[in-house]
Subunit: 283 residues, 2 copies
């Protein structure tokens, strides 16, 4: 596995791979890798000739400077974890390398980012779309791999790819969970023992909500019972729990049962750490 | 010269050119070609192995539906004009081909589009950035060619390329003028005989302004004398005349002489046709 730290170095490499007719897979990450990331890398290695994994904690997608400062950075561990996955090149640039001058351009994804993460983290998806566009242009992937854990990010990147005709295919993998149901996340490392013990209630709440949706309860009733369940855990400070159209991410009408594929999405704070999770119910 | 009408067809062609190691030049146009366009195509043919010329009257960059409807469309003439220029492929898609579904994403270029064309044509540069991004992704050019006639468009596209790390080089050519000084433009075809006779006063006004800048008159004085000159032509309805920093396009302070490279830019209506022109003064 080769380690590349400059944009020009990565571009040279991917240009020559393209010229040699090799299929390129890209797995963009912010590091602090876990099994969810590694599944993406192994899938990319199976489906392509070469695989680029990027590790870059992107400042422009953090609305909260403290969150950016505390985001886990574990370059040695990450390198060791990637060794057996089929990763061809690890791209680990500095902030100055990715943003040599200030960015003027801003993206807006309309209704897609007026809800959930977009509503609670102003500018987040502008930062995501900017860095993903840069990584796509530097890596020239045939396929790019994302996890469903970041459901709204996947929706925004899908819109970006469609609206600007990026010549690549998005591949989305299901959320990988710990044995107690907690969605794997780099931020889990920051949980205290107490917060870690309570954290599985987030997925339990989503599982309850899924059952209620399957029972054709009204959206308002699913909302009420799920919030009641979460309120029993005072250590969980819920930011939102949204019941949405899984394609548009817009909230569903409260008075009737959910119709069509439903996204059940939440964000919550546990002892100063913000976690998100979601479940999609096909109907 | 091959004619391509589908995005997939163009993408296949440029993919195989890239794989063969050929250098690709792109000249994006809205057709109704004139000598300004043809100079770009001939330059692209000299500096690259293959040249894509796109002809697409892009609806998303027209804020005025009447302007879109009346924009000249001359596919046969355009094809004949391109025959001897070294154009390898003419890409002439339909609107449905370029926009198979509604676009949610919107671009904002901040201060760069709060002035001049951006201020007077709301949404114009969002449309430009969207279609240029699509054309870049479909054509995969090593170099893309633009005319300085659209000075603010060049600035926006340059920002787009920098901010999203598009892997290509922008090449900008000077404005080509008729013998009486009128900047060549596809919209000139729509001028009445009377309006055509008055139109050279736009460039005469810019030439006057350039002389005053060279004489180190204050920005306010350049503005005053240029507006006085234009006011003598009642057939010219001035929309704006801006004296700006040529890099940021922001207006210069009025009380002192211009310092650094200056962009002198104007837009005006002549009998229902809107024309723009500019001159850049290096200082």
């Amino acid at each position: 596995m080769e380690i590349l730290q400059t944009a020009a170095g990565l571009q040279d490499r991917t240009e020559s791979w393209r010229r040699a007719g090799l299929r390129i897979g890209l797995v963009p990450t912010m590091g602090a890798l876990h099994e969810g990331h590694l599944q993406l890398v192994r899938a990319a290695a199976q489906e392509n000739d070469v695989v680029v994994v990027s590790i870059f904690v992107n400042p422009t997608q953090f609305n909260n400077p403290e969150d950016f400062r505390l985001y886990p950075r574990l370059p040695e561990t990450d390198g060791a974890l990637l060794a057996d996955t089929g990763c061809t090149a690890l791209f680990a640039p500095t902030v100055e390398e990715m943003y040599p001058q200030p960015t003027l351009l801003r993206f807006d994804f309309g209704t897609l980012e007026r809800v959930m993460e977009g509503a609670h983290r102003p500018g987040h998806f502008n930062g995501v779309a900017t860095v993903v566009s840069k990584l796509f242009h530097l890596s020239r992937p045939h396929r790019a791999y994302f996890g469903q854990k970041d459901l709204q990010q996947v929706a925004v990147v899908r819109q970006l790819v469609q609206d600007l005709s990026f010549p690549l295919e998005l591949v989305v993998f299901p959320t990988v969970r710990e044995t107690d149901g907690l969605a794997m996340s780099s931020r889990n490392r920051r949980l205290s023992l107490e917060a870690r013990a309570v954290a599985p209630h987030l997925y339990q709440a989503l599982t309850l909500a899924r059952r209620l949706v399957d029972e054709e309860q009204t959206v308002a009733e699913v909302q009420r019972q799920t919030l009641d369940f979460l309120r029993q855990q005072p250590a969980i400070e819920l930011e939102y729990f949204d019941i949405s159209d899984a394609r548009t991410l817009q909230p569903l009408a409260p008075e009737q049962p959910a119709n069509g594929p439903v996204a059940l999405c939440l964000a919550a704070w546990l002892g100063g750490v913000r976690l998100i999770d979601n479940v999609v119910v096909e109907r």
